[in-house]
Every structure is written in structure tokens, then in C-alpha cells.
Symmetry: C2
DNA sequence: TCAAAAGTGTTATCCTTACACCCATGT
DNA sequence: ACATGGGTGTAAGGATAACACTTTTGA
């Protein structure tokens, strides 16, 4: 309980760092994968690493050749059944989100993959994906009515409605993890069942719980982008507002209202015009912008507010 | 990189679970502590634990006698210099936030402590604490001008202004961790210096980085309470709006505007009147409320929004 | 009667959302 | 000319913040 106690027990434990490394290039959000897209890059925590974040940065640079500007811890897992060997060693997995640009080479064993290949129901940009109506909603419906108890069924119905925007609710793009978990529980993802009956209809699966970790990363990024200017890390130094909008749309998986998006950005004083114009847009030339240096420092979330009383 | 690799390395690692267990009773937010308030309760991850969260719940129930309704992971640390023994074992610390009520007994070795005893600058309810003007601001100012480089100094000034609401900015109650880290960096907390010159003027210190973990927990709770109805977990089943407001004020460390708070709660349909009245309020009797059962299910964050285009 | 807390009304302001429209370029 | 994307104006509606005020109890 106090410090002396904890040191006494030292199980056979290995610590693994897993990275969700994100880039967005011309409208496609991507992650770095290994094993032909079957897994996220992961590396052991080594004794030389001063801290977890330092360890992660070290082997990400080593293994992928990228140096993400923004890195944030996602979640730590340690389920007993995560080990692969017969002998019982506990595996701790600490996952991180990293943002980077797509430029520069990767090692041959790693590759960029579009993240909506793994979670196709999350991309509602041009159209609402047909598989939502065709596969997800019927499957979720079966899962709802599969419970005998009426109140449990009601709870499931409610949960499904919130997650997938049913019963007249709006789709909430932040609920990526809730949707993944519900689909998992409903047995609609191959990870949930025996390897035999893998169906690729609901996106490509990944090793172990890597697809869940990806969902966690996307959820975090979608939530974060609204109150913290992390988009920076994903954009080139000079860009047009259209490019910025497409980047945000790629992350959010939804189309934005162009005039209002523009005003939102201006009002927040996130960017400043360079004075230059970009001509190859297909229409009228666009102003070129850069992020304001001050904003890069700030990182000040404004976010939600309580009705605070004045002094 | 792929799964085979990570298993090969298995350092001498011990895993510790640390809990920030919060209750609010008549206007005072509290945490469970051990060692006479010098540390947060912590326990080793044992082989019998099926998952981290299960492990945490198990020993929290054991060691403190409380069963928190809401539990959420905070952060995982693994700095090399965390071990206390001469032999080099890596210590992984996984911290959790748990919400509970204060009723029921605790074990003798544990006790509730008001959290503003550790972070007194965070409580701005009746008055802005004098130590902000007297100790914090001068100390921070010294830290700002202690840098030779003009642009680094400007960055420090900006950071301090955001964290502490200087230069005409508003105090942002969510930035608990940023404030703690700045004070730490500025050498104003005893944790940062040698044990000899401990000054209690800026709150009671804690073992190792427990005070930082407490700050992380408070920050998370303050942010969360605005878009997720977790206050439930801290309130008795029946309560008045005034009690609810005092609970939120205790957490936020700020006074709220009563009429507007009331409307906010009503508009969100968080509560429903029981019909009963509570008379011992010191003034006009208040209506008794309970939380709406539906809301307990929901947990649907609305939060910030992007200017999404209609289909 | 007065203090203290409960509770209601109302207004000014700001932000969000939506719609309408003009501008500048390439084909 | 017209399609395509860039860019501006503005008005409706809702949420927030601030102020003023009434109601109901106990001392």
C-alpha cells in the first residue's frame, strides 16, 4: 500500500509500446502499419529508455523513420490472456497517438494504410456508407432483441441509438470507440469469433486488439481537434483553407460547411495569410495561409464552460 | 515489431496501480490517502487480476472498503528513477480516477483529506487565495525572467499567463495539471528540490509524484463534469439543486451563478423533482430532486461541434 | 420584520446555422 | 459562356450571462 509493499512483488511482465501514427494526405487519413497492414507498429520498452514517451519516440524513429511532432498517451491494457507463449507472462500494452506528415521514406516492412479500410462505417463524407444500413443496423438490431430481459433490451436499444445515431438522433463522430465496442459485443467483427468465419464486410481486421486501439486513437483525435489546434501537425507549413478543411473532414469523417468553417478558423485566429496565392485549385486561385506562431505555443483549450459567477 | 519480437524481452518490471478516489461531502472535495495523508493508495497488479480495471477495483475494495461506481484510467508512468531499491527494477505506475460517496467506514490506515490541502491555489470559491498574489505570481515571475533568451522568456510568460490567468486572461479551472507542472518547473514545490527546504506554503506535498497524479485526476474530473453527468456518482440519491451546485462548485473550485446553474441543469433534463421538499435549508424549503434514470444510461457526450454540412 | 435561501422573468449579447450571392480563374 | 472552387454578407435561432425581482421559510 505504501511504497515498500509494491516493490516486493515482481511478476514476469513484459511491456510493449503500441503506436497509432497518423498522417493525412490529400483527403485520406492514414496509419502506419506492419505485417502487410495486419498490425500496428509495436516495440518493447527498453532499459535505455528514460521514460515511456522517450521510449516510444526512440523506436518509432528507428522502426519507421518518422519523428512525430505530437505524441500523446492513449490507454494501457493488461489483460491476462494477451500473452502468446504457453508460460504465463503478463503483457502490458501502452498505446500512443502520434501525428506526423506523410513525406519521407518508410522502412520496407511498414506501410501507410487508410484508416477507413479498418473502420469503413466511420467515413460519412460523400455518402453515408451503404454497409451501415445493410449490415450494421440489422446486426445491431439482432443484438438488441437477443436479450430476453426487457429492461436490458431497452438499455441495448438506447446504447445502439446513441452510438449509431438511430431513432432520430444525430450521428456523433466522436463515438468511434463506443461503436467499435458495440460491434464487437454484437459479434459482427471477426475478432470476436473463431478465425474461421472471418468476413471482411465490416472492414479489415487486425492482430489482437490493434483495431480497437486504432479506434481509440481516432476517437481521441476527433475529440481533440475541436478544442486544440493539433491539425498543425498534419499540415504542410503553407496551405489553403480548402486543404485545411479537407484535412479536418478526413479526420472527422464528415463534410463541413465551407463558409462557416472558414469563419470558424478566422475567428479563432488560427491562421494568417502569407500574401501568396495558389493557382492550381481548379477554380479561382486561393489565398495561401500559415499557422500563427503564437497559436503553436498556446495549446489553450477553451472548451465547455460552467456558469461561473463573477467576483 | 510484430508480435514475436516483444515477448523476447522481459525486464524486471513491477506494476503498480495508483488510485485517486474522490468524494464530495458538504462542499469539500476529498481523496482517500494513506501514510497520514502523504500518499495515494497504491497496490501491485496481481496475477489473479483479470484486467487492470478489475485489479484496481479488487484492491480498492480490500484496502479502503469503498466500491467506486465510476472508474477511469488516468495515465501510465514509467520513469527509470522511480525505483527505491539499489537494484535496477523498472516501476510502471498506472493511475486511476474513481468516484464514490463518503459514507461507510474506511480502514484505519487510510483517511479522507480535502484535496485543496494539497493544491490550495485551485480553490477560488469564496475568495481568490492570497497565496496566488503573495507567493505564486512572484515566484512564477522570477521563473519567467530567469531565462536569458528573449523568445524563450516570451514563451514562458505566455505559458504562465495561460495557466494562471494573468495579463487580463481568465482563469481556466481545467488547467490544473499545467499549473502544477509550471510550479514544479519553477522550483516552487518541495518535490522539485532537496528534502531539506520543504516549505508548506504551497500546499502539503506527497510521496514521489502522487501530488502530480492528484492534479491529473482533478483536471480530468473538472473537464469531464462539463459534458458528462458523472456528478451522479458523488451525490446521494435525493438532493436539492443547491447541494448539486455545491458539489459542482467544490470540484470546479469556483462559485457558480445560481439562477443560471439551475436553468442549465433543467434544460439538460438531468434531474426530476421527487415532489418532496427539504426544509432545513436555512431559508425557503427546497424541492428534492433525483437524477433521471435515462440519463444514467446515456453518458452521451455532446461537447464541442464542427460546422458539419447537412446531407 | 428581517435574513437567508429558493425560485422566476427578462434582456442584451454572442455564437451557430443556414441561405444567398458575388468573384476569379481555366476550358 | 460556364463550370469550379474561392470568398463575403446577412438574417434567424438558440444558448449564455447578467440583472432585477418575487416567494417562502426560520429566527
Amino acid at each position: 500500500m505504501t511504497k515498500g509493499h509494491t516493490d516486493s512483488i515482481s511478476q514476469s511482465v513484459s511491456v510493449e509500446l503500441i503506436a497509432v501514427l497518423v498522417a493525412v494526405t490529400n483527403g485520406q487519413p492514414k496509419v502506419i502499419t506492419v505485417s502487410s497492414g495486419d498490425a500496428l507498429p509495436a516495440g518493447p520498452l527498453e532499459e535505455s529508455h528514460k521514460s515511456l514517451q522517450a521510449g516510444l519516440r526512440a523506436w518509432v524513429a528507428d522502426q519507421t523513420g518518422r519523428r512525430p511532432g505530437f505524441v500523446e498517451q492513449l490507454y494501457t491494457f493488461a489483460d491476462r490472456d494477451r500473452g502468446h507463449s504457453e508460460k504465463y507472462t503478463r503483457q502490458i500494452s501502452i498505446s500512443y497517438l502520434g501525428l506526423t506528415g506523410e513525406d519521407g521514406p518508410l522502412l520496407a516492412s511498414t506501410s501507410w494504410r487508410g484508416w477507413y479500410g479498418y473502420l469503413p462505417w466511420e467515413d460519412r463524407r460523400d455518402t453515408v456508407p451503404a454497409l451501415l444500413k445493410d449490415i450494421v443496423e440489422p446486426g445491431v438490431q439482432r443484438w438488441v432483441i437477443a436479450t430476453k430481459d426487457a429492461s436490458a433490451r431497452q438499455a441495448r436499444r438506447e446504447r445502439a441509438a446513441i452510438a449509431f445515431g438511430l431513432d432520430g438522433r444525430n450521428w456523433n463522430e466522436d463515438l468511434v470507440l463506443q461503436r467499435y465496442e458495440l460491434l464487437f459485443e454484437a459479434g459482427l467483427l471477426p475478432e470476436a469469433g473463431p478465425a474461421g468465419r472471418r468476413s471482411l464486410r465490416l472492414g479489415s481486421p487486425m492482430e489482437a486488439d490493434h483495431r480497437r486501439i486504432l479506434a481509440t486513437g481516432i476517437a481521441r483525435l476527433r475529440a481533440k481537434i475541436k478544442y486544440n489546434p493539433v491539425v498543425f501537425e498534419l499540415m504542410p507549413p503553407i496551405f489553403t483553407l480548402q486543404q485545411l478543411q479537407q484535412c479536418v473532414e478526413a479526420i472527422a469523417g464528415a463534410n463541413l460547411h465551407t463558409p462557416n468553417f472558414r469563419r470558424l478558423i478566422e475567428q479563432q485566429q488560427l491562421v494568417e495569410a502569407t500574401g501568396a496565392m495558389v493557382a492550381d485549385t481548379g477554380g479561382r486561385p486561393a489565398r495561401a495561409y500559415r499557422f500563427r506562431a503564437e497559436v503553436k505555443e498556446e495549446r489553450a483549450a477553451v472548451g465547455a464552460r460552467l456558469p461561473i459567477a463573477r467576483a
